[in-house]
């Protein structure tokens, strides 16, 4: 074989690999949609069901947007579920104590952001690893939520609080609008601001960033604050949707948000957390859950399948990467 032929072959393999790395996860998602459509053409692709899916994933998408910011720097946030739960409980307790709804929400948002900043102080300034730091605060925040709520579900929230999670503007559910706003905000932050550039630089190489005049500690601290802020929004919307607050209502966010970001890292960009990818990850998880429900598959089996999907996606993208 001549040299040119070989080179040509190599470059073809390269572009095929690149194509799979960039678009494979999206293709997988489309395939998933097709499969469910073929299996249940009467139910799955209906407008009502799709609206249902989007409504279901809205809170996860909000929380995962914040987690994306942290994961861009190469850190990790396990505490978002606990923050969402705690924020939900505090909002409910404030409203039940007679504080008006907007003020309760504002206080709860500050609380969530503060909780995120606490993570940031321990991790960026105290030198804890993000995993250990947020594992510890997750445990502590859950404890606080259980303690102050007495471990029970809080009912009897004011009527005007329903709107966030259950109301809609025209045909668009209000929670979906909040999701879109969250996604746009984080997208702009990551792609269009100097702060976003610094986050990605730190994720690429923290030492280089420090030598380039970036205050790496402050940038990481703020990332955790942002993650806490979006976890709080997620927690409030969830509480409104359920119209009750449970001290562990937010727990599933912890793993689902991380899973969505990891899935997203396999899409569009090579191995890098990015917001479009996160959105895709959230949608994949939402569609999976919905489709399997429609097919009447047991929720335990759903968990198993979700695990397998995540492993497959990450495995395939890393295989494609190796081959290139």
């Amino acid at each position: 074989m001549t040299v040119e032929k070989k080179q040509k072959k190599a470059s073809n393999e390269f572009s095929a690999g690149k194509f799979i790395r960039t678009w494979g996860t999206l293709l997988g998602f489309i395939l998933l949609l097709l499969i469910f459509t073929v299996i249940r053409p009467d139910v799955f692709p209906s407008g009502r069901n799709l609206k249902n899916v989007i409504e279901q994933v809205a809170t996860l998408a909000i929380v995962a947007s914040g987690v994306t910011v942290v994961m861009v720097t190469g850190d990790f946030d396990l505490s978002v579920g606990a923050i969402a739960s705690l924020v939900g409980i505090v909002t409910a307790m404030l409203m039940k104590a007679g504080v008006n709804t907007p003020l309760s929400i504002l206080i709860a948002l500050l609380l969530g952001t503060g909780a995120g900043l606490i993570n940031g102080v321990f991790i960026a300034y105290g030198g804890l690893s993000a995993f250990v730091g947020t594992l510890a605060t997750m445990t502590a925040f859950s404890g606080v939520a259980l303690l102050i709520s007495g471990g029970t579900t809080l009912f009897g929230l004011p009527e005007n609080f329903r709107f966030l999670g259950q109301g809609s503007l025209g045909i668009i559910p209000f929670s979906v609008l909040i999701m879109v706003a969250a996604l746009l905000t984080v997208y702009t932050l990551l792609e269009q601001t100097t702060y976003g550039r610094r986050l990605y630089a730190i994720g690429g190489n923290a030492e280089v960033s420090f030598f380039s005049g970036i205050d790496t500690k402050k940038v990481r601290l703020m990332a955790f604050g942002i993650s806490g802020f979006f976890a709080a929004i997620g927690g409030i919307v969830l509480t409104s949707r359920l119209y009750s607050a449970h001290p562990q209502a937010g727990s599933p966010f912890m793993l689902n948000a991380a899973a969505a970001v990891f899935l997203g890292m396999t899409a569009f960009r090579e191995g890098e957390a990015n917001l479009l990818g996160t959105l895709l990850g959230v949608l994949i998880m939402g569609v999976m859950g919905n489709g399997l429900n429609i097919m009447g598959i047991n929720t335990y089996v759903q968990s198993i399948l979700t695990g397998i999907i995540i492993i497959l996606a990450v495995l395939l993208s890393s295989l494609a990467k190796k081959k290139a």
Binding site: V3, S11, N205, E207, V208, F210, F211, S212
Partner: protein, 498 residues
């Protein structure tokens, strides 16, 4: 006996996507010789060594060891064939101790499998270090060791199993002259035992000194292979770059202006009572041995570490940076020594890297104007003669010389008051070196104050207007760089004056 080929390579070829890294290389190494292998970055040396080490597979060609054709599919095959490797990059596990690192990846001795026989391990490690004539505590985690000792541990690892042919890829870059001499003695001993040493280095003086034959590679092929006695520094350079290099350094043309930076009796843990002045348009060289405190001095000025006493002035105003961020805001920038660790985010685009240090300046509102960012980065890149077709490619795809130009572009996109350079030509090939020297000269001519640290004394002698010598963190001499020769320079480095 000296003419027996212990290792012969025929028609070795390897292509990567878009690049033909090796184009049918034929090469042979004799028993009992020290064989220099040189070439610019990207010439194919690393690929060749990786193939022999079993890290990458060749597309074509054959490898013969002792006349037998061998197939090297992994590192075990390589060591079976008697090939040992001492790598350029220090792949040590920080929290393992010295002897564990020495045996990392090798077969551990056992009394009863799977229990490790630590006594034998310790004895063997001691023997190896003794052979290298270095004293390093065996049980210390390597993260506690100095850079020099770490490098020696990495070298010791290459000797943990004995072989017939030793490949050493830039083994001496992190060593002081004393350790380097020890290494050379070891190489001499290996040679006397009839072993073969392949010595890969950019340091041509070292190569000329210790080798018997030298092979020059360029663009994936072997261009020359001669006995060392027939080569000179100049002939090696022209052979490496395929043309004559008129002179290694651009002419001096400095016309110092007023004082930009001044340090008065500065101290910290590593630096003791240093006084210095740098004028606009002046190049101050810092002379001294590896480990004398040169890098620490730059880091102190750059705000990585802080002063314990003394003070610094920038344009006659108090200057006390708390971080690199503060230093950069005041106009003092650093091209750090470890390009891949401190200089570039390898998997971000070239233009993002170039703009990283000047984001505040380029996007004052905090929102990015991608077009402007790209345009300014490209202009900065052009100014330093960066060769790339696409500024959106990752910085890691560039050659060493071009990567260094990206770091230059990044530090001077917003013109600094003072530029500090730590080993600016480390890992940069000969052709690109001259360009980098010219860029340094141009920056000085435009009025930037410059401080340069280099282990290549030719570089200091060729570039600096004034040299500050330091030893063990203390200032020994400040001397105008007139008629200085290598011998005098080295004497000053050791703290001796004539």
């Amino acid at each position: 006996m000296a003419d027996v080929d212990v290792l012969k390579i025929t028609n070795l070829g390897k292509s990567y996507p878009g690049v033909q890294a090796l184009k049918g290389v034929n090469l042979s190494f004799r028993k009992g010789e020290v064989h220099g292998l040189i070439g610019e970055n990207g010439a194919g040396k690393s690929t060749l060594i990786k193939i022999l080490a079993g890290v990458v597979k060749s597309d074509t060609g054959e490898v013969f060891v002792g006349g037998q054709s061998v197939e090297i599919k992994n590192s075990e095959d390589a060591s079976q064939a008697g090939l040992c490797f001492i790598h350029q990059e220090l792949n040590l596990v920080d929290y393992f101790n010295v002897m564990e690192n020495i045996f990392l990846g090798h077969k551990y001795p056992h009394k009863i499998i799977p229990l490790i026989d630590w006594k034998v391990l310790k004895r063997k490690a001691e023997e190896i270090l003794e052979q290298l004539q270095v004293k390093i505590p065996l049980k210390a985690p390597v993260s506690y060791l100095s850079a020099v000792d770490r490098a020696m541990v990495a070298i010791a690892r290459g000797f943990a199993v004995s072989g017939e042919i030793y490949f050493m890829d830039e083994p001496a870059t992190a060593l002081t002259d004393i350790e380097k001499e020890k290494l050379f003695t070891v190489i001499e001993n290996l040679k006397n035992q009839g072993k073969t040493v392949v010595y890969v280095s950019h340091n041509l003086d070292d190569v000329l000194r210790i080798t018997d034959r030298i092979t020059v590679m360029r663009d994936g092929t072997v261009v020359d292979c001669w006995p060392t006695g027939k080569m000179t520094r100049d002939s090696l350079i022209s052979s490496m770059i395929g043309r004559n290099l008129e002179s290694a350094f651009p002419g001096k043309n400095s016309n110092p202006g007023q004082i930009v930076f001044k340090a008065k009796g500065i101290n910290n843990k590593h630096i003791h009572n240093i006084n210095m002045e740098v004028h606009a348009g002046e190049i101050l060289g810092i002379g001294g041995l590896v480990g004398s405190g040169r890098t620490e001095l730059l880091e102190l000025i750059f705000g990585v570490t802080s002063l314990t006493s003394g003070h610094m002035l920038l344009d006659e105003k108090d200057y006390k940076p708390a971080s690199p961020k503060a230093a950069i805001n005041k106009g003092i920038v650093l091209v750090p020594e470890e390009r891949r660790k401190q200089g570039l985010v390898l998997d971000r685009s070239i233009y993002e890297n170039i703009s990283l240090m000047s984001l505040n300046h380029l996007a004052m509102t905090g929102f990015l104007d991608h077009k402007k960012l790209k345009k300014e980065s490209e202009e900065a890149g052009r100014n330093v003669r960066l060769k790339t077709s696409n500024y959106s490619n990752h910085a890691g795809t560039l050659s060493g010389g071009n990567q260094q130009k990206v770091v230059f572009a990044k530090t001077v996109l917003k013109p600094p008051r003072m530029l500090m350079l730590d080993e600016p030509s480390k890992g940069v090939d000969v052709g690109a070196r001259f360009e980098i020297y010219s860029i340094i000269r141009e920056l000085a001519a435009s009025g930037t104050a410059i401080i340069i640290v280099s282990s290549d004394f030719n570089e200091i002698l060729g570039l600096a207007d004034k040299i500050l010598f330091i030893k063990e963190g203390k200032q020994t001499f400040i001397i105008k760089n007139n008629n200085m020769d290598q011998e005098r320079y080295l004497n000053y480095c050791y703290g001796r004056a004539k």
